[in-house]
Every structure is written in C-alpha cells, then in structure tokens.
C-alpha cells in the first residue's frame, strides 16, 4: 500500500536528518535531566515521597521536553519550503504526519530510556521489577504525546509567537496522558495491579482517538 511505503520512506528521512546531527536527542536528554534535578532541589523528597511524586515529575519533565522537542518538527520544513515538496511527493498527506509522529515517538522513547537509570538513581525508585509494563506505559504515553504534538506542531508553525504557542496549545490537551500515565507509573512502583490494565487501555484509547482525528483532519493542517 502506498500509504505505508510512503511513510517508511519519510520515516527513514526523518531518522536520517536527526541522526546526522543528533541535536534534538542530546538537548532533550540534557533538558529532562536538568528538570529532574531541579525538581528534586525544589521539593527535596524523602524516599517514600519520591516514589509517590517521582513518576508525576518524570512525566511532567517528559511533557515539557516534548513540547520543546516537537517545535522544529514542522518548522524545519519551512526554511527551504520542503513541506510543499513533501506534499507533492505523497498521495496522502497523512503519511507525512505518520512518519513524523513515529519518528517523534522513537525519539521520545529513546530519551526516556536514557533517562530512566538516572531517574531510578536520583529518585530511588525500583524501575526493574515491572519493567515490561513500564515500557508499555512509556510507549503508549509517548505515542499519545507525539500524535497530539505532531498535529499541534503543524498548527503552531503557521502562527506568530510559535515557541510559546505550542506548549500553550499542547499541554492542556495532554492532561489525560499526564494524569493517567503518572498514576499508572506510581501504581507500577507500588505494585498495585488494579490501575495497570485500565490505565493502559485508557492510554491506548486516547492514542486511537487522536490518531483517527489526525487522519480525518490532518490534511487541513498542511494546506497552503
């Protein structure tokens, strides 16, 4: 199918652009690290408190990092007006979004995996016992952030004050992702089985709903 082959080509383009310089990944990793350290200075938690609040702070740091990381996603295409060529090249503009959001999910997931050992050490939380579940939550949460974020990055790229506008548009929309992934992560560290399944299902529903909305309305975001 042309949608998937187009997406694969565009995805390889996104990955190549990023791994040539690794600018986004490096800055995002350092940003999350700085935020986590500053959080710990601001509240100086005990071990018990950091298990309770740590996941929320981690997800907040990821959310802030994502709102910065997603900024250049469409802006990059404006410098040489490559977006028009992309639009001409593919039959369905959804594949542009799909490639970008898969790339963003991968970048986010990679930075999260690099950050996780530091988080575990600084906040003294056991990440290993339920690691597979944690990975699933990270994947679904990052996917949700990337879906909404890629769409809004296309929106904010066409406005003034875009650097401020993207977090302003994105963060209220992502409230459910923050609430649910933070709660599920706390549950994983405290071994509460009840919230796990329901939370993961909820994150999956969020992802599917926004992916469908993007599929339906995405083409309007790329018009010129």
């Amino acid at each position: 199918m042309s949608l998937f082959s187009n997406t694969a080509v565009l995805l390889s383009k996104e990955l190549r652009t990023e791994f040539r310089s690794r600018e986004l990944l490096t800055t995002t990793v350092v940003f999350i690290l700085v935020v986590l350290i500053l959080f710990s200075f601001a509240i100086s938690p005990t071990t018990e408190e950091s298990r309770e609040f740590g996941p929320g702070l981690l997800w907040l740091a990821i959310l802030f990092a994502a709102s910065l990381m997603l900024q250049p996603c469409f802006l990059r295409e404006q410098t040489n007006d490559t977006l028009s060529s992309l639009r001409l090249a593919v039959s369905d503009p959804f594949s542009i979004f799909l490639a970008k959001l898969i790339a963003n999910t991968l970048f986010l997931l990679l930075t999260e995996l690099i950050m996780l050992p530091f988080f575990a050490i600084f906040y003294n939380v056991p990440v290993l016992p339920e690691f597979h579940w944690l990975l699933l939550v990270l994947l679904l949460g990052s996917l949700g952030i990337s879906i909404a974020g890629t769409a809004l990055s296309a929106i904010s790229a066409q406005a003034r004050m875009r650097e401020l506008l993207l977090p302003l548009l994105l963060l209220p929309l992502l409230t459910p992702v923050l609430v649910v992934s933070a709660t599920v992560t706390v549950g994983l560290f405290e071994r509460e089985p009840i919230v796990k399944g329901k939370g993961i299902a909820f994150l999956a529903v969020f992802d599917v709903v926004f992916l469908t909305a993007l599929w339906l309305f995405g083409e309007y975001l790329l018009e010129e």
């Binding site: 909404a148 769409a151 809004l152 296309a154 929106i155 904010s156 066409q158 406005a159 003034r160 004050m161 506008l165 302003l168 548009l169 209220p172 929309l173 409230t175 459910p176 609430v179 649910v180 709660t183 919230v195 329901k198 939370g199 909820f202 529903v205 969020f206 709903v209 926004f210 909305a213 309305f217 309007y220 975001l221 018009e223 010129e224």
Partner: protein, 238 residues
C-alpha cells in the same frame, strides 16, 4: 433587526423572571441557606457555556467542510461567549464552595474539566488571533475540533484516576436529587441564560460579519480610487 430586538426582550424578561424565581420562589435550602441560591445561576451559565462550545464545534466542523467564512466567525463568536460563561461558572463555583465545602477549589472531575475547557478555548482564541496567513481559520478550526474531542477524555481521566478521596457532597445538585419546589427556578434560569448566550453569539456574529463586509468594501474602494489600477487596466494587466 426586529428579530434580535424580540429575542433580546425575551431574554431580558426571562433573566428577570429567573432572578425572581431563584431569590423568592425557590425555597431556602435547609443546611446551606442563602448561598445555595447561587446554584441556579451557576448551573444555568454552565449549561449555556457547554451549549455555545458545542455550537463552536459544529461551526468549525462545517467550516473545514464548506469553507465559508461565516462558519469560522460563528465558531469564534460562540467560543468567546462560551468562554465568558465558563468564566462565570469558575467564579461562582468557588464563591459557593468556600462556605459549603470549606475550600475554594478541589480537583474533582467536573471542576478540573471546566478549567481545562477554559484553557483549551483560551488557546483556540489565541491561535485564531496569532495565526499568520490565510490558513489561520482552518488550523484554528482543526484545533477547536481536537480540543472538543479532548474534553470527554479529560473528564473520564480525572474521574477514574484523580478522585480517590471522598467526593464532596454536591448538595442541591441534580445528582443528589433536587427538591421539586426548586425546579421552576432552575428551569427558568436555564432557559434565560441559554437565550442570553444565543443572543450575544448572534450579536457578536453579526458584528464580525459587518466588519468583514466593511473591510471588503474598503479594499474595493481603495482599489477603485488607486490611480494606478486604471492605468494598469488600460494596459491589460488586470
């Protein structure tokens, strides 16, 4: 114009009747006393706000489908009015909550959703204003659609994950059963504020459309008065 005057008169009359009903006809609530009467006003503006946001959602859907500027302006007008209503809700809520619950605010599902709703539509109006180029109405419409879809998800996420602590008793609310004698006051308020919201949206919308027409006419006039345009026309440029 006469239609608007009639609707305006009806709305004002309804607001007066509703105010009378909520202050004099509705019985005094046993435990909360006088402060409970703010509920009629609070619930009615909340309903009116939700209604206008729904109109905003429909208008934006119609805009991306039909691409007629009138739907875009209807979306903007209703979002502005809805925002005003939700602001009233967010102000009257804590005024009631402080004496009754003992706190100004709690992160309950309904309160949080109202706040997020407020933030989403503030960002929509900001985007609509800060957008560059002819694409602004379309991307703002798409954002409004995303935002509207998000609202029930926010509500469910807060309801399922953030209300482990006991729910505050919403006395006098429809959930705990409303005294039948209080119903007339509530219903007249609902009707009054919906009429009022519809009226303001209508006015705001016609002002926006009139401004648009005035801009068009000014542009046409500038084009006609421009000495160059005649010259260019004679040279066959236009």
């Amino acid at each position: 114009m006469t239609k608007r005057i009639i609707l305006g008169a009806v709305a004002i009359l309804l607001v007066i009747v509703a105010a009378y009903a909520s202050f004099f006809i509705a019985p005094q609530e046993r435990t909360m006393g006088l402060i409970q009467r703010i509920f009629y006003f609070h619930a009615a503006t909340a309903w009116a706000g939700e209604m206008t946001f729904f109109v905003c959602f429909l208008a934006n859907l119609l805009y991306v489908w039909k691409r007629q500027p009138k739907y875009d302006w209807l979306g903007v007008s209703s979002a502005e009015v809805g925002l005003a209503c939700i602001t009233v809700v967010l102000i009257t809520g804590p005024i009631w909550a402080h004496p009754v619950w003992g706190i100004w605010w709690t992160w309950d599902a309904r309160l949080t959703t109202a706040l997020i709703l407020f933030l989403i539509y503030v960002s929509y109006l900001m985007l609509r204003r800060f957008g560059e180029g002819d694409q602004t109405p379309t991307i703002a419409a798409a954002f409004a659609i995303f935002g509207f879809i998000d609202v029930p998800i926010v509500y469910m996420s807060i309801r399922w994950w953030r209300t482990q602590h006991p729910q505050p008793v919403i006395g006098g609310g429809p959930n705990s059963g409303l005294d039948p004698h209080m119903r007339p006051a509530l219903y007249t308020n609902l009707l009054a504020f919906m009429c009022l919201a519809a009226l303001v949206v209508w006015f705001r919308y016609s002002v926006a459309m009139a401004e648009r027409r005035a801009e068009d006419e000014a542009a046409q006039r500038a084009l006609a008065e421009n000495p160059l345009s005649g010259k260019l026309e004679s040279q066959g440029v236009r």
